[in-house]
């Protein structure tokens, strides 16, 4: 599948050439050796210490240190590992790459964690749209089962790890951990208030460790190289490498694994080939659609979460979207708001009502029928949504929209002044937003 071939910069996670879907190829490459090490008597403290020493931070978006998260898992007779493969953030497709190309790295990571922490069962909650990916995953589990890695006693204590793949039903919100667990538990996929935290009461109301695909798939690589060597690839606060998805107006979109200490410029210009067709770089969305937008100065920033946070945005789920200077930012804001309005679960008021109001108002601006005051109104709605919702989805809508208005306010004003979209002829999103009929120049038979 050449279209998914990653451009490998740092060979850590994607530490191989070509496909490793097949278990023989994975084992020939040294795969499952770390599982054997774990089974030979690794205890929870040393795994947590290893993860802590590696500087590994969760790759799902929040960037919480993985070792510390594992240390919070409450004791219990039944405990679960849930792998979040509900990759839904616009701009992110890194987990998909990993699921398709190295499913055994994920399985080995899962089995290491399960064996060490003696977890009852692992559930991989995979995005419903990932049909091929779930088939690849199921095939890989069947291979691992045939090798007795899964479903058979492993180690001297007779512990039997089991892995279940659960396909989602198409809701972005189910990537949020409490909504994911609610869906997995058989209820409506809606987030719930914390506490209780999943580490205390998660899957089936038992203590549950919940991690992103990439986070878990990185564990064998860390054990292979050693925590210190892995950490040294990254920055002080964010160890190692990560896979970043680059999309938008670049020459070579795709997934790239690179060290945390690399710059966005290295990723966008050198690896992805920069903005094509002689266009200029207008903006960069660094961490999926929910992250606040940056201007061309983004190229000088490090990819590490702390560097992006310092710049007022976030690394999120590493979905980098590059926007050229022909693009209408109002359309981009509208498209972003539309997505979150469509995906709002409807449970809490500010998100349910606020995202829709933002979308409807942005559409009026794009259509050129809004008043100037409505630009500030959008900002005020964003203020009323942000920080007042049950889960981060409302914020995910408000933050990028606000950043786009703040940074590109003149463009919003131009829409109001002009009564139409000034970039409508050049913007690549224009096909989504036909201009209102009355604003199109009238072509009559006599004038022709």
């Amino acid at each position: 599948m050449p279209e998914w071939t990653p451009r490998i910069e740092a060979n850590v996670l994607l530490d191989f050439d070509g496909e490793l879907r097949d278990i023989d190829a994975y084992e020939a490459y040294g795969g499952y050796a770390q599982l054997h090490r774990a089974q030979a008597g690794m205890d929870a403290e040393s795994l947590i210490a290893e993860l802590g020493g590696s500087g590994l931070r969760g790759r799902g978006g929040a960037g919480f240190p993985t070792g510390r998260k594992a240390s919070f898992l409450a004791p219990g007779s039944e405990r679960y590992l849930v792998v979040n493969a509900d990759e839904s953030e616009p701009g992110s497709c890194k987990d998909r790459e990993l699921l398709l190309r190295t499913p055994h790295a994920l399985l080995e990571g899962i089995l290491i964690v399960m064996n060490v922490l003696k977890l009852t069962r692992a559930y991989i909650y995979i995005r419903g749209e990932y049909l091929t990916e779930s088939e690849v995953l199921e095939a890989a589990i069947a291979e691992a089962r045939a090798r007795d890695y899964v479903g058979a006693p492993s180690g001297p204590d007779g512990y039997v790890p089991e892995i279940t793949v659960h396909r989602g039903a198409g809701a972005y919100i189910c990537g949020e951990e409490t909504a994911l667990l609610s869906s997995l538990n058989g209820f409506r996929g809606q987030p719930s208030a914390k506490p209780p935290f999943p580490a205390v009461s998660g899957a089936f109301e038992r203590p549950t460790l919940l991690n992103n695909v990439e986070t878990i798939a990185t564990i064998p690589a860390i054990m292979r190289r050693g925590a210190e060597e892995y950490k040294a690839l990254g920055t002080e606060q964010s160890g190692g490498t990560h896979v970043m998805s680059v999309s938008g107006h670049v020459l070579r979109p795709g997934n790239y694994e690179l060290a945390m200490s690399e710059t966005m410029g290295h990723l966008i210009v050198e690896l992805a080939g920069g903005v094509p067709d002689g266009r200029g770089l207008k903006a960069v969305i660094p961490g999926g659609a929910s992250s606040p937008i940056l201007g061309p100065e983004a190229l000088d920033l490090l990819c590490a979460p702390e560097a992006l946070a310092a710049a007022g945005t976030m690394a999120g789920s590493a979905g980098v979207m590059v926007i050229d200077d022909a693009t209408c930012i109002v359309q981009l804001a509208l498209r972003t708001a539309e997505f979150y309005t469509y995906e709002s679960c409807g449970k809490c008021t500010p998100c349910r009502e606020g995202t829709r109001w933002i979308t409807d108002t942005l559409r009026r601006i794009e259509d050129g029928i809004a008043a100037h005051a409505e630009i500030d109104l959008v900002l005020e709605i964003c203020d009323n949504v942000e920080g007042k919702c049950l889960c981060p989805l409302g914020d995910a809508c408000a933050m990028p929209v606000r950043s786009m208005i703040k940074r590109f306010r003149a463009e919003f004003e131009a829409h109001v002044d002009l009564g139409s979209c000034p970039l409508h002829d050049s913007s690549s999103l224009s096909s989504l937003y036909p201009q209102p009929r009355s604003l199109l120049p009238l072509v009559t038979a006599s004038s022709a």
Partner: protein, 748 residues
């Protein structure tokens, strides 16, 4: 437990310092401090807070974001501000969002005037809206059942109703469909919301989205009177508000008595008041004359009753007179009848048609209160009648206990509504051992046979010391009160007197008629025909009334003043919410007049009559109307257990390996329900078969089935159950309980 056992936290809310138990939600802590935090979705009776509406946002020092006071627990040293600029901004923002799509049709909304959204907007809302786009519109109103109308435009999606359906009643019928701004409340596949407790969602709704079809457009809140009373349609005794306008009951609302109903009502209690206005009600007294039953004024009724009582007592002795009461009577009425009969020379007093006369005194040493279910770790429900059919709201309490970790075992054939939360079935012989092993066991007996056996079981389990004990359900709503007042004679004795000609005068009180409700109804009918005097007192014509010489029109529980005693022995106050029809004199007045003919001075005034009741039995001793008040206490300690109560003879299993019909009265049955058209859809024609039996008989789920049994023939749609005992066939049966062999045929 001493105070030091409870971990407490001390915090400050709006400058007021207070100490609350650890884990208390800020909303409740604030309420204790006298600070109101606005809420919509928060309702502790629905389970843990969900933090959905975000109305309760408050500012907590040291926390960067506003916090929802419902999901945030009070923390030590917390400094909370509920009216600071930051908090007010959050509250205004949420109210503005809620009102974006809410139609401002308050002038024509039934909720207007008693609407939390109106009230909170007045107090916390922005004075203006910045929203000038089109509001969301939906088709409306939608009848989600014949009882409930749904206006989706008014809905603010607080999820109280779906949480009630899914978590409290657990009927799982109300759901949220779609998502985001398009979320709507709905039922599955547009099926009507059927369930014993559906009406509670009307009261839970904080806006006018769920309204009662019977009350829609009936009245504005400022032109009604809400009168406190209690429901007397079953022995639970739920506390109610009756909304009255233009002299009629317009609706019934719950009135939270935490120890009885926790603010829930079943749909029978909520909607069956329509029977007060039924066309076939007796609106005048009747006395049989030469040309049949003829209208008679109260004085003539009184004189006829007195004359006949004296006649039979003098001529035929006390064995010739019997009063059979359904338990629908107030304590004062029942006591007046008892005194009247005694004054005439004596007679039998019967309050139950089954299992002999139940000895409630034998159960008393083991009796638990309804509220004891809350702390139970084991609940055993004995009897074939579904708990929710016998005492609706008690079922909700059991469900709540099970959600809290209690184990529920069913000592019956199963196949009822509690099956899916029960831990399984238990054989009658194993109940005592199971109860003994538990910390706080509760044994609930749902029908007379199980009630009669409960004292012996409780004794064997050592429940006299508590905690826990027996909750025994009488059949009649006020059967406990009647028993205390001397209605203790065995129906079977009276029947045999009727058959051998000894019985000459039978007084049948209430609409629960022995001809249809008691076992051997045809024998009762034969006995009636041999009686020289039959007095029937009911709201509506009953089979007994056909043979009656005197028909004393009854008043409904909503039309009389007095007291009734619930299944726990808690005596509560009825209030005359509306007036009885013009020709219907209060029974107490008629009986007092009858007493005068017998030289007996009764009290026509209910409050004075109660003074006599209070002296008549230990159950009422020390009670005054003031002590009963609006939220009646349960007075008196458990008596000491005496010698082991006698266990009733085990009835032999007449099943013989064949199919066994189990027909019991459902909740939605009886004279009141039959006259409430809106409740008709609640009647289920389900015939429950054990899955394996059905497969053997070739009956598919939903197939039409005919059951022939001792009581007659029942037809309905098959439901296959994995939890019903093999061989059992369960269905709703309004007559005397059916328990015996049957044949089952699927009709193709």
């Amino acid at each position: 437990m001493s105070a030091t056992d409870v971990a407490t936290v001390t915090l400050e809310i709006d400058g007021r310092e207070l100490t609350v138990p650890k884990g208390t939600p800020l909303v409740l802590a604030a309420a204790q401090a006298g600070v109101e935090i606005p809420i919509f979705c928060y309702e502790p009776r629905l389970g843990p807070a969900i933090g959905a509406c975000r109305m309760c946002l408050v500012e907590i020092e040291g926390m960067p974001k506003l916090q929802a006071a419902c999901t945030m627990a009070a923390g030590d040293g917390m400094k909370v501000h509920t009216r600071s600029a930051g908090a007010a901004e959050g509250q205004e923002a949420v109210l503005e969002f809620i009102l974006l799509n809410h139609p401002l049709d308050c002038p024509v909304c039934d909720k207007g005037g008693e609407c939390p959204l109106q009230d909170l907007t007045y107090r916390y809302g922005p004075g203006n809206t910045r929203f000038h786009l089109n509001k969301r519109t939906y088709e409306k109103p939608l009848a989600i059942s014949p009882l409930i109308a749904l206006d989706r435009e008014r809905c603010i999606l607080c999820y109280r109703c779906t949480r009630f359906s899914q978590d409290v009643a657990q009927d799982e019928q109300l759901i949220a469909r779609e998502r985001g701004a398009n979320s709507v409340i709905a039922t599955f596949e547009e099926q009507p919301y059927r369930g014993r407790f559906s009406g509670n969602v009307i009261e839970l709704c904080p806006v006018g989205a769920l309204t009662s079809t019977e009350y829609r457009f009936k009245a504005r809140p400022w032109e009604i009177n809400n009168i406190p009373s209690v429901c007397a349609l079953c022995p639970t005794g739920c506390n109610t508000w009756a909304t009255v306008r233009e002299g009629g009951v317009q609706r019934m609302l719950s009135r939270n008595h935490p120890e009885v109903d926790e603010g829930w009502l079943c749909d029978k209690g909520r909607f069956a008041h329509a029977h007060l206005r039924a066309g076939d009600r007796y609106v005048q007294g009747l006395v049989r004359g030469p040309r049949g039953l003829e209208p008679a004024p109260a004085e003539q009724l009184a004189e006829t009753i007195a004359r006949r009582l004296r006649h039979h007592a003098t001529l035929h002795g006390p064995e010739s007179i019997a009063v059979v009461a359904s338990g629908e009577q107030s304590n004062e009425e029942a006591h007046a009848w008892a005194e009247l009969v005694r004054a005439a020379g004596g007679g039998a007093l019967v309050s139950s048609g089954r299992a002999g006369a139940i000895d409630w005194d034998a159960i008393a040493p083991y009796a638990a209160r309804i509220a004891d279910i809350d702390g139970a770790d084991l609940i055993v429900v004995a009897g074939e009648r579904d708990l929710g059919d016998a005492a609706g709201v008690v079922e909700l309490r059991v469900r709540q206990a099970v959600r809290g970790g209690a184990r529920l075992l069913l000592a019956g054939s199963g196949g009822g509504d509690l099956d899916h939360v029960a831990g399984g079935r238990i054989a009658p012989g194993e109940i005592a051992d199971a109860l003994r092993a538990a910390e706080q066991p509760i044994l609930i007996a749902t029908e007379p046979e199980a009630v009669a056996a409960s004292a012996a079981t409780a004794h064997a389990a050592g429940l006299a010391a508590g905690p826990g004990g027996v909750i025994a359900l009488p059949e009649g709503p006020n059967e406990r009160g009647l028993h205390a007042l001397g209605y203790r004679d065995d129906a079977a004795t009276v029947l045999s007197r009727g058959e051998d000609g000894t019985l000459q005068m039978l007084v049948v009180l209430g609409d629960a008629d022995p001809l249809t409700r008691f076992p051997a109804g045809e024998r009762w009918e034969a006995a009636l025909q041999r009686c020289e005097s039959v007095v029937a007192s009911s709201l509506f014509p009953t089979p007994t009334a056909l043979w009656a010489h005197v028909i004393l029109p009854a008043t409904s529980a909503l039309e009389k003043d007095g007291t009734v005693t619930n299944l726990e022995g808690r005596t509560q106050r009825l209030r005359p919410v509306v007036q009885a029809p013009a020709g219907v004199a209060p029974e107490l007045a008629v009986l007092t007049a009858a007493g005068r003919h017998l030289g007996l001075e009764l009290e026509a005034s209910p409050s004075r009559a109660f003074l006599r009741v209070a002296k008549a039995a230990p159950l009422f001793s020390g009670l005054t109307w003031e002590a009963i008040g609006r939220l009646a206490p349960l007075t008196g300690a458990r008596p000491q257990a005496g010698k082991a109560p006698a266990a009733p003879k085990a009835t032999p299993d007449a099943n013989g390996g064949g199919l066994r019909a189990i027909g019991r009265r459902p909740l939605f049955s009886g004279a009141a329900v039959a006259r409430t058209e809106r409740l008709a859809f609640q009647r289920s024609d389900e015939i429950v078969l054990a899955r394996d039996d059905a497969l053997r008989l070739g009956i598919a789920a939903g197939a039409a089935v005919t059951v022939r049994h001792a009581g007659g023939t029942t037809t309905g749609a098959a439901r296959l159950s994995r939890t019903l005992a093999p061989g059992a066939v369960r269905f709703a049966w309004d007559g005397a309980p059916v328990d015996g062999p049957c044949s089952v045929a699927g009709s193709a």
